[in-house]
C-alpha cells in the first residue's frame, strides 16, 4: 500500500536528520565547532520565536501575537519559567482580544 510506503520513507528521513549528528559528533570535536554549537540553542530558539510573533502569516504584522509574545518576554525575563511565560503571554492574548484590540 502506497500510503504506508510514504509514511515509512518520511519516518526514515526524519530519523536520519535526528540521529546522524548525535551519532557522528560523539567524540573528539574541534574546539571551534564546540564553541559554535554552544550558540546554536539561543539562535534556533530566537529563530522560532521572532517570526511567530511578528510574521505569523508570513508577512510582517504587529498584531495580537506580537503583543502577547512581548508580554511573555517580560514574564520570561522575570521568572525564567516556561509555565509562567506561557500563562502570561496567553493572558495578554486573551485580555487584548476581549478588549477588542
Amino acid at each position: 500500500m502506497e500510503k504506508l510506503g510514504v509514511l515509512f520513507g518520511m519516518a526514515l528521513v526524519t530519523y536520519f536528520t535526528r540521529y546522524t549528528m548525535i551519532a557522528a559528533l560523539g567524540r573528539g570535536m574541534p574546539v571551534l565547532a564546540r564553541r559554535w554549537l554552544r550558540y546554536v540553542p539561543p539562535a534556533v530558539l530566537a529563530a522560532l520565536v521572532v517570526p511567530a510573533a511578528l510574521a505569523p502569516e508570513g508577512h510582517l504584522e504587529v498584531g495580537l501575537p506580537a503583543w502577547a509574545v512581548l508580554a511573555g518576554a517580560v514574564f520570561a525575563w522575570r521568572t525564567h519559567s516556561v509555565l509562567w511565560t506561557i500563562l502570561g503571554g496567553m493572558a495578554a492574548f486573551w485580555l487584548l482580544r476581549l478588549l477588542g484590540a
Binding site: 530566537a46 508577512h59 520570561a76
Partner: protein
C-alpha cells in the same frame, strides 16, 4: 527515574499546544483521504509536526518521492539541534543515543538543552521530555481524525503561541551575557527576514547557523579587544 519524570512533567505546559495542533493535523489528514488509523500511524512513526502538515498539504497533488524529500528538507533543522545537544550525550551508549534521537522534537530538545545549560540536564530528563511530547502529538492526531469535522483553528485561541512562549521561557537560560543576547537578536532578525522574503523551509537552519556563527565571531572580537587593553573602557 526522578529525572525522567521531571522531563515528562516539564512538557505539560506545552501539551495543550501540541494536542491542539495534533487535532488540526488529524482533521486535515482525514480531509485528504487518511483513515483515522493512518493519520495516527503517521504521527506515531514520523512524529514531526511541521513536516506532517506539509506532507498532508501536498498529499493530493504530489507523489511519494517529493513528499519524502520535502519531509527531509523540513526536518533538516534537526541536524542542527542534534549537533548542539551531541556534546552532552557523548558518554552515552549507542542504544541511548539512538533512543534519544528517535523522538527528539523542537519542544523536547528546547526543554533538554536549557536544562543541560543550567547544569541539571541528564539523558533521562531528555527522554522524559521526548516521551511527553510523543504522547501528546499522536493523541491529538488520533482524536482530530476521529472527530474529523469542525475543529477550530488553534490560532483563534492563541494556542499557536504556546510554542514561541515556551521557547522564550527556555531561551533565558542562554541570555546570560551580551554575546548570547546578540546571537538571539541577530538570529531572530534573520529568521524574520527569511520568513518574509524567502520561500521554502530553510529559515530556521540558516538563521541558526549564522546567528551562532556570529557568537563565535563576537567572542573573537571581545578577546582581541581584551588583549589590546582597550576592552575595559567598552565594558557595559
Amino acid at each position: 527515574m526522578k529525572d525522567f519524570w521531571r522531563g515528562l512533567v516539564a512538557t505539560l505546559p506545552l501539551a495543550p499546544g501540541v494536542v491542539a495542533f495534533g487535532l488540526l493535523y488529524g482533521m486535515m489528514a482525514r480531509q485528504v483521504g487518511f483513515s483515522p488509523w493512518e493519520a495516527w500511524a503517521m504521527s506515531l512513526v514520523v512524529h514531526a509536526g511541521s513536516a506532517q502538515f506539509t506532507a498532508v498539504g501536498m498529499w493530493e497533488t504530489a507523489g511519494a518521492i517529493p513528499i519524502v524529500l520535502t519531509t527531509l528538507v523540513v526536518n533538516l533543522r534537526h541536524m542542527l539541534l542534534g549537533a548542539s545537544v551531541a556534546p552532552y550525550l557523548r558518554g552515552l551508549s549507542p542504544p541511548w543515543k539512538a533512543l534519544l534521537a528517535l523522538w527528539m522534537s523542537d519542544e523536547s530538545y528546547a526543554l533538554a538543552i536549557a536544562e543541560y545549560e543550567r547544569g541539571r540536564g541528564t539523558h533521562r530528563y531528555f527522554l522524559g521530555a521526548n516521551v511527553g511530547i510523543y504522547l501528546a502529538w499522536p493523541t491529538g492526531g488520533l482524536i482530530g481524525s476521529l472527530l474529523s469535522s469542525a475543529i477550530p483553528d488553534p490560532s483563534q485561541y492563541g494556542l499557536d503561541l504556546v510554542f514561541p512562549l515556551g521557547f522564550l521561557g527556555l531561551m533565558t537560560a542562554f541570555l546570560k551575557d551580551r554575546i548570547g543576547v546578540a546571537v538571539a537578536l541577530a538570529a531572530g532578525g534573520l529568521a524574520l527576514l527569511g520568513t518574509v522574503y524567502l520561500p521554502g523551509k530553510w529559515t530556521i537552519i540558516v538563521a541558526g547557523l549564522l546567528g551562532s556563527g556570529l557568537g563565535v565571531l563576537l567572542e573573537e572580537v571581545e578577546q582581541a579587544w581584551r588583549n589590546s587593553g582597550s576592552f575595559s573602557a567598552w565594558r557595559w
